[in-house]
């Protein structure tokens, strides 16, 4: 599609034109002699094309200035800058955003000439078994061969009916990984394709970055997403940044926090094991040993309850603090009632609420009943006194006190605090409970649903929110419907019976499932097509770690990798790399030669020592066929991505793809069309999921984005064909008369406009109130354009804003109205039935301080799997409900006395392929480093900048030492404990290369979502 057409589309969809930042005051100065020598503005008269940054989840807008006359295979970009119209960043851009040109073009360091970035792959490549070289091939050859391999493996390993006679339609020998950097439309097609193929090992980055967020937030609030959004941070009175280095990982947050500070005198608190660029800009910095969040937050909860700092009315009406819990619930020495040591799991029926005879919940509105949630909570956390907490976390007492007093003050009804977090929170064996503890704290302080508040899970990939919504995960279908398990959900009726709750909005689930099935198989009734979906083996773990364990055992034959790099980013990367060599074939789709796509090269074998725990093979020993398909970059194609704040924004196409690279959308469309052709004419029932699949996205391998978007939105099915689109998900039906690709996105394309393309950045301001930065006409946001979710809580029980200066919605006597879309029944009277049930997605319809998770209904501090310290609060060695994959690889302080952790820096991104391949970013952070305290460096004889080797039971890694005052030993229960940390972005390719830190990290995960423990493990360090 030419840039001309995309511009026209932009105008049609946009409305406002691109503004430039001008300074009125300087117009009209006179010509002087200097001016003659000043070069002309390079971008004069060029209309830039808007795009959205492909890096972190903030979703900053950028504009691409292109030389349209330059040939497609030559440099075209003049400059890429922040989009001044985008409300999120208003023209700002961090170094990654500012370096976007390098994704396509660079300036040569020798000649200064502009040229295509030579790291971009221009033609498909094939690696034959045993070879140590790539061979270039054409697209036809590649896709034909891939389709054939796919069919061969599928046919050989396909299970149509399982041993119990249940239709399962699954293929457990092919896995699909990745997708968080793809557009929503692409995720939709991959999700659809994989489900039709019967793939059960379907995973992507969300598992290893924020799965515990969904696992913690959904059972508490009803949805798993970030509650507020970036622009909203300007309204906070206090930001608690814990488990996140947001100044580096989500730089634009500091635009809004700086604003909050300037305008509201807001305070910024940063809790982190090391002093970071975030700490440098915080008012309070409190160090905390990695892996002790629950102790830290538990102490805060205790302090709040003891001193009655909680927001009492809010807690009474909007949470389950008033609910009475049954007598069978109890807790002793780190274990809740119902624990079975043999299975390392709980009988969760021991934790039920007490019910009234009429089926309603038993409550005590005074919250004084010793069995009510508030009293049980108080008892549970009474052990978390300040001294005990500080002994565990290593936080100096005075710093902890400062945090307590500053943050707990947001419990006042007119004060609002936000918690901002990321991987420092989620990537632990207690990841879900860490998130839960934040959510509970925020409920107690009355900070959910309010402008300037929330639990803000900062998503780290540009579309990881979208790809999660698209369920590129084994356990869910698009829109957060559980995937069928064979025995639990043998057929359509059984699925609906088991999965549909009686109360809360999820009672509409059958409509969402029915519509999804119609979207996939439009000509069949959902009761039939339900069985086309793969049904997984009940209770089996297919998540990232399990997937690689299965691969390591040789259980997988084929693997698709969509822009993912586990050889660098996977936990226990040595093992994951070794596992890849057991594949028969692998397809990697990427812009660059990632370390994963080159796991079979000699470079991939190099290690700093000859220790090899997992049997890494050399090229001649590796039989895997590797197909590399070059993808184009984010501004060489078009589509939408969903940011962390759930805004679905459009990216227009600004340049021609480099070489023969293609959009993932075209690749998946082309591939699935070929697979369908291979199966054409088959009468085998097991091939029905493919043959019956509805797959019509336009011709010539260029799928039409609008057709896909309408399918995502949903429509009425008329004569087995797409009819008019539905307005939103409230119009979806459970009888097969509507189709919808993902109900949470329903409403994004209601009539003739893809609302993601909206670019009107005038804020909405309801008469008599102040605008709060909702920007309802900028892009579109799920659900149904609500910008702050659970916003019913922003009002008193009677329906008036807690704080009129930050009013989100309110009850005007007849309906809910205001500056945002109510996340509530529009006409539900606050004083009538259900008028205070603010969390519509929970069966309880309130925020759940007490809720069932695999390790209990309340968080409890457990030490990491590898810890320098015994648990001071109970006698459990680690989370009692986690799966231990490699018991022999559990390091102890005898050999590995130092706490190790991994993290990011602003200059690089995730597994690094997208930034190490860019000279402008490589120069800012050219090597991998290990940060350590001056004290530890002295002990070990390490000088700043020295080469060091870090070791764990899994492997070794070499990097440069960064000896700094910003890391300090922790005083833990009277002893000093050292912690070190390192960047995990590095691999052997790129302008900046180094060793993957994940060669050190363990294969151990959380008890609910199996998110890997990247953040706290034991290691040792020495001079290389």
């Amino acid at each position: 599609m030419s840039t001309l057409i995309t511009r026209r589309q932009l105008l049609k969809g946009g409305g406002t034109s691109i503004a430039t930042i001008t300074i009125a005051s300087i117009f009209g100065f006179q010509l002087d002699s200097v001016r003659a020598a000043i070069p002309e503005l390079r971008t004069k008269n060029i209309k830039p094309v808007p795009t959205i940054c492909p890096y972190c989840g903030a979703g900053c807008g950028l504009v691409v200035y292109t030389n349209e006359n330059a040939p497609a295979d030559s440099p075209q970009v003049l400059s890429i800058q922040g989009d001044p119209d985008n409300p999120i960043n208003r023209g700002g851009a961090c170094p990654k955003g500012s370096a976007l040109m390098n994704l396509r073009e660079i300036y040569n360091s020798e000649t200064g000439e502009q040229e295509i970035n030579s790291q971009r792959i221009k033609k498909p490549r094939y690696r034959a078994p045993g070879s140590d070289k790539w061979v270039e091939k054409d697209w036809d050859w590649m896709l034909e061969n891939i389709a054939e391999r796919l069919k061969e493996t599928r046919d050989k390993h396909f299970e149509h009916v399982d041993i119990n006679g249940i239709l399962v339609n699954r293929c457990e020998a092919i896995a699909s990984l990745g997708g968080a950097a793809l557009d929503n439309e692409e995720c939709h097609l991959i999700s659809k394709m994989n489900r039709a193929l019967g793939i059960t090992f379907f995973e992507h980055q969300a598992r290893i970055c924020h799965s515990s967020t969904v696992g913690g937030l959904a059972p508490t609030f009803g949805r798993g997403a970030m509650t507020n959004h970036f622009v909203d941070m300007q309204h906070t009175d206090c930001a608690l940044i814990i488990g996140s280095n947001s100044a580096e990982t989500h730089p634009i947050t500091f635009k809004w926090l700086t604003e909050a500070r300037d305008k509201r005198k807001a305070k910024i608190i940063n809790v982190d094991p090391r002093f970071t660029r975030t700490s440098a800009r915080a008012d309070i910095y409190a160090p905390m040993r990695s892996g002790t969040d629950i102790a830290f937050i538990g102490g805060m909860i205790n302090y709040i309850l003891e001193n009655k700092f909680y927001h009492e009315e809010y807690v009474r009406w909007y949470t389950n603090a008033t609910f009475i819990v049954g007598e069978s619930f109890g807790f002793d020495d780190g274990l809740f009632t119902g624990y079975d040591e043999a299975t390392r799991s709980y009988d969760q029926s021991k934790w039920n609420y007490e019910m009234n005879a009429d089926g309603t919940y038993k409550k005590d509105m005074s919250m004084e009943d010793p069995r009510c949630v508030l009293q049980l909570l108080k008892e549970h956390f009474s052990r978390y006194d300040i001294d005990t907490v500080c002994k565990i976390t290593g936080t100096p007492r005075n710093k902890y006190m400062e945090v307590l007093d500053t943050y707990c003050a947001t419990g006042a009804p007119d004060k609002v605090g936000t918690i901002m977090y990321a991987m420092g929170t989620t990537q632990h064996t207690v990841g879900v409970e860490n998130v839960r503890s934040y959510a509970m704290l925020q409920l107690l302080l009355g900070n959910i649903g309010r402008a300037g508040g929330g639990v803000n899970a900062l998503r780290g990939e540009s579309n990881v929110q979208g790809s999660t919504d698209w369920a590129m995960l084994y356990h869910i279908l698009p829109g957060y419907l559980n995937t069928p398990e064979a025995k639990k959900h043998p057929d359509y009726a059984a699925y609906n019976a088991v999965e549909t709750p009686k109360t809360g909005y999820w009672k509409n689930k059958p409509k969402f499932l029915s519509s999804l099935l119609k979207c996939y198989w439009m000509e069949d009734h959902p009761a039939i097509s339900y069985d086309y979906l793969p049904k997984r083996i009940d209770g089996k773990d297919y998540s990232h770690i399990a997937l690689f364990e299965a691969m390591y055992q040789g259980e997988l034959e084929g693997l698709f990798i969509w822009g993912s790099n586990p050889v660098v980013g996977g936990p226990n990367a040595n093992k994951e790399q070794a596992a890849l060599a057991n594949l028969k074939w692998m397809v990697a789709v990427d812009l660059w030669q990632t370390e994963t796509s080159e796991f079979w090269t000699y470079k991939a074998v190099e290690r700093p020592t000859d220790r090899d725990e997992y049997g890494i093979k050399t090229p001649d020993e590796i039989e895997t066929e590797v197909f590399f398909l070059p993808a184009c970059n984010s501004y060489e194609k078009e589509g939408t991505i969903t940011n962390s704040g759930r805004w679905m924004q459009y990216r227009w196409k600004a340049c021609a793809p480099v070489g023969e690279s293609r959009a993932d959308l075209e690749i998946v469309n082309d591939l699935m069309s070929r697979v369908k052709k291979l199966y054409e004419g088959s009468t085998k029932p097991q091939d029905e999921p493919i043959n019956r699949l509805t797959w019509e996205y336009g011709n010539n391998g260029h799928p039409d984005i609008d057709i896909i978007a309408r399918e995502i939105n949903g429509f009425t099915v008329v004569d087995g064909k797409p009819g008019p689109q539905v307005a939103n998900f409230t119009k979806l039906m459970d009888d097969g008369t509507t189709a919808c690709g993902n109900w949470v996105y329903s409403g994004c394309y209601p009539a003739d406009q893809y609302l993601a393309r909206k670019r009107d950045n005038k804020d909405v301001e309801h008469e008599g109130s102040k605008a709060i930065g909702s920007y309802l006409n900028w892009s579109w946001c799920w659900p149904v354009n609500r910008r702050i979710i659970y916003n019913r809580c922003s009002c008193t029980p009677e329906g008036l804003p807690w704080d009129a200066n930050r009013a989100s919605i309110w009850w005007n006597g007849e309906e809910w109205t205001g500056n945002d879309i109510p996340d509530f029944g529009k006409t539900t009277d606050p004083n009538g039935a259900g008028g205070r049930n603010a969390f519509i997605m929970r069966p309880e319809e309130v925020g759940c301080i007490f809720t069932k998770r695999n390790e209990g209904p309340f968080p409890e501090h457990y030490e990491p799997w590898e810890s320098p310290q015994e648990n001071l609060l109970n006698n459990q060695p680690f989370n009692p409900a986690i799966t231990v994959w490699e018991p022999d690889k559990r390091g102890t302080i005898k050999d590995y006395p130092i706490v190790g952790t991994t993290y990011r820096c602003i200059e690089h991104w995730q597994a690094g392929a997208m930034t190490r391949m860019q000279p402008w970013l490589a120069e800012l952070m050219p090597n991998c480093f290990v940060e350590m305290s001056e004290e530890l460096a002295k002990e070990k004889g390490i000088g700043n900048g020295n080469e060091v080797i870090v070791s764990t039971t899994r492997g070794d890694m070499k990097a440069l030492a960064c000896v700094t005052k910003r890391f300090k030993p922790f005083l833990i229960n009277g002893n000093y404990v050292h912690q070190i940390g390192m960047l995990w972005h590095f691999g052997f390719n790129g302008y900046a290369s180094g060793e993957p830190a994940n060669r050190l990290t363990p294969h151990i995960g959380d008890a609910n979502t199996t998110i890997p423990e990247y953040k706290a493990w034991l290691c040792d360090v020495r001079r290389a």
Binding site: I21, T22, I23, S25, I26, F27, F29, V34, R35, A37, I38, Q81, G82, P84, N89, G91, G92, A93, C94, P95, S98, A99, I106, Y107, N108, S109, T111, G112, Q114, A247, E248, P251, I252, F254, T258, E259, F275, R277, T278, S279, A280, R281, C905, P919, W920, A922, E923, L924, M925, P926, N944, G945, A961, C962, V963, T964, K965, R966, K968, Y991
Partner: protein, 266 residues
């Protein structure tokens, strides 16, 4: 014509280095990849292809604990620029709004400006045999746009506008900072060297940001510009060939340490 300038407030800067990259994007500068030396600041100084850098300085205060100071560093666009005074070719000029503009077409690569500048800003670009430095994005500003670095700054640490207005903002900010935990906060650039067309709000004394507390044009330069250059300017080509006035240049060079003699670092 009012002076237009940047105000850079260190108390808001997160050292993201967006400015450093945006400057490269706009000014079409290649990367200069140097190895990590134990500090996030991978370029010790600006260079021929890097007009601006962010400096990282960590330290510890017995009362306040650890601090990490950041400083975006580039040409100061001095009111009375030494670079301009010494340039034998008249390659430097001041725009009506205060930028010190260097015209590469006139530059002969003699590098006198490099040694004259109190901030060691002008750098030699070997491949073209020219000096380069921050242009204050004159091409953008002349068209009514903000400089690339100021436009990209995500936090608002770096802004651009009328110097008098920015000075007022800076003064208020310093007052606020002094009352809120930074008793030594100060403005930089207001009076230094008679005034810089770059304003800084610092949270501590300038030395904590590796800025000279009282910057001075080197004595030899004053001597050069007031006495030698007016009379011997015509001797430059000869000087370059290493004759008559080379004793002066040698002196100037000797006063600076080290690696400049090789022609800047690239």
């Amino acid at each position: 014509m009012a002076r237009m300038t940047n105000l850079y407030d260190v108390s808001k800067c997160t050292a993201c280095r967006g400015c450093q990259v945006a400057c490269k994007d706009w000014n079409q500068l290649p990367a200069v990849i140097e190895p990590f030396k134990g500090n996030y600041q991978t370029h010790e100084d600006t260079n021929g292809d890097t007009f601006t850098i962010v400096k990282f300085m960590e330290g510890e205060d017995p009362v306040d604990g650890v601090y990490w100071n950041f400083l975006k560093y580039q040409c100061m666009h001095c009111f009375d620029p030494a670079c301009m005074s010494v340039c034998p070719q008249g390659a430097y000029s001041k725009t009506s709004w205060g930028a010190t503009f260097h015209d590469p077409d006139k530059c002969i690569g003699c590098q006198y400006c490099t040694y004259a500048c109190p901030f060691e800003i002008p750098k030699y670009r070997k491949r073209e045999d020219k000096i380069t430095k921050c242009t204050l994005c004159v091409d953008r500003v002349e068209e009514g746009l903000t400089p690339a670095c100021a436009r990209t700054c995500p936090t608002g640490a770096l802004t651009f506008g009328d110097r008098d207005e920015l000075l007022q903002i800076a003064e208020e900010r310093v007052k606020f900072l002094r009352a809120n935990g930074f008793p030594r906060a100060t403005i930089y650039g207001k009076l230094e060297l008679g005034g810089l067309n770059k304003l800084f709000v610092l949270t501590d004394t300038p030395d904590k940001f590796e800025l000279p507390i009282d910057p001075k044009v080197p004595g030899q330069i004053t001597f050069w510009q007031d006495w030698i250059q007016p009379y011997f300017g015509w001797l430059i080509p000869v000087a370059l060939a290493g004759s008559a006035v080379s004793f002066v240049t040698t002196r100037i060079l000797a006063n600076k340490n080290g690696d400049h003699t090789e022609g800047g670092h690239e």
